[in-house]
Symmetry: D2
Subunit: 161 residues, 4 copies
């Protein structure tokens, strides 16, 4: 967990899958949030992050934790367009909302990925009920650690009521 807290910047979303509403960090104020940034053809994402995110989504009640995916394509753009991602979500049985990160007009990195200074995928972002970015993990973290970090955010949210 970082000590100098900053507000989590807003997501820049081209389109939502698994969801019809427009989800914003702003609209989730008061909620503990886990955002998983992935690419559908990133091996570390498929083997570790996606199964982990599904376990988290199944374990914590939606009132306690909001789980969101964001598809941050920064390579093989042709290979991971919306129909491919959509079939991927279906085949991997991913139920939580997934945002397609807005492509950049000028560069390789999509916009939310740039804004958050992500170093690649898989990345996990944890945001507390006040909208502060509390953790930014590039690469895999253990279930034990993730469970502990999520519980911390959930308890703070409950205590704040």
């Amino acid at each position: 967990m970082t000590t100098k807290l900053k507000k989590a910047p807003e997501l820049q979303v081209e389109k939502w899958l698994n969801n019809t509403d427009n989800i914003t960090i702003e609209s989730l104020q008061g909620q503990a949030i886990m955002i998983v940034a992935f690419q559908m053809l990133c091996l570390g994402c498929v083997q570790l992050l996606i199964p982990q995110a599904k376990k988290v989504y199944d374990m914590f009640p939606p009132n306690d934790l909001t789980v969101i995916g964001i598809h941050t394509v920064f390579e093989h753009h042709e290979a991971m367009k919306e129909p491919s991602l959509s079939a991927f979500l279906h085949e991997y049985n991913i139920k939580f909302p997934v945002a397609i990160d807005q492509p950049s007009e000028t560069g390789r990195l999509p916009k939310t990925m740039s804004t958050y200074n992500m170093q690649g995928t898989p990345t996990i972002l944890l945001i507390d009920h006040e909208g502060y970015l509390r953790a930014h993990h590039f690469g895999h973290i253990s279930d034990l650690q993730l469970g502990a970090e999520l519980a911390t955010l959930i308890i703070e949210k409950k205590d704040a009521r």
Copy 2:
């Protein structure tokens, strides 16, 4: 987590391994405690509980969490005597203190196991900083859930200062 809290009864220990002092629940007051009850020849203990307990012991600082093992032999008594357990701790590289549960004079179940009404092994007991038994899990629980439950106890302990 249970809702009706009761104080965790004291351990009844024949001998401590990996430790020279006499550890009691009483003496650990103010600490969050995880107790793992196992048998060295129980397959579920060896494959799931012991690796999980080692990960917990490595991840959480001793100031946050005390990890203790208790060897609760209720079958194959001849097979799991102290020299065997001692070699097991060495070979499996278990560093946390392990109590040998006091054998019963009359029955098959050792004393701490009886006192806690354990149904078998593996069992995980979680005790908070005030000495209340907060969880009693028979069988395996996921790292994600365990991490969340441990974080809850640790936060309460820190908030209590």
Copy 3:
């Protein structure tokens, strides 16, 4: 292994990836062959078949065994076009030749898949040095069994010289 042997029908290939030549069953006469039929978004393929095929390809010398993949898309056609497959092979570090199965003009199943009467993916086909189809496995088989079946074909091939 089946007892009534039949000659393995020819592959019907739209395009080869990881390979510039046109590979045919005919041209591989004298070789033991393992063909793995997969879809890049089939979970069982990604988790079990692909890692297994890579291990086989790494373990057996090319003189002993020819390993070939065939991408038999029968669902989500839009999602698994050539650029996606190509990126998949790159990201999953698949080095053996992979054929794109010829789409049917009329139906959902691609042509090689129909010819072989495949029931789905993952599928493993084993062909001996005389061109006979010796095994057709739909679903996962263990490494132990696959290793034994492959060794059988390889020994027959060596004995036939």
Copy 4:
């Protein structure tokens, strides 16, 4: 597989478990044999060799392959005596015959372990139907490789009829 073949020396057995007869290499002439040398408190044995040996025992018919364990204790002798081994076989559901290697009168290594020049545990020995030692693996080998090596011995045995 080694190229210079030598006859497999005889086992020196204190006692057989899971078996009432006295099994010898001599008496198994005509059979393909896999011998797994292990210690019940050796982590690599428990995690890798024992599950692998059980899979082999379940997969290959007894007419094709004889599977034997040998308990070659060379450390923690007090910890791995017969009652402990016996409970271990029960708890790990090991059904194949297991020999207790004869302790040395003078040294640390038991007799069969010395005779075969084993470097430690886990060790796998493969003996063909003519009694030749065909493979001696110290440490883990993959299921794929083991399956292939076992099939080789089984085919030779069948061809010899």
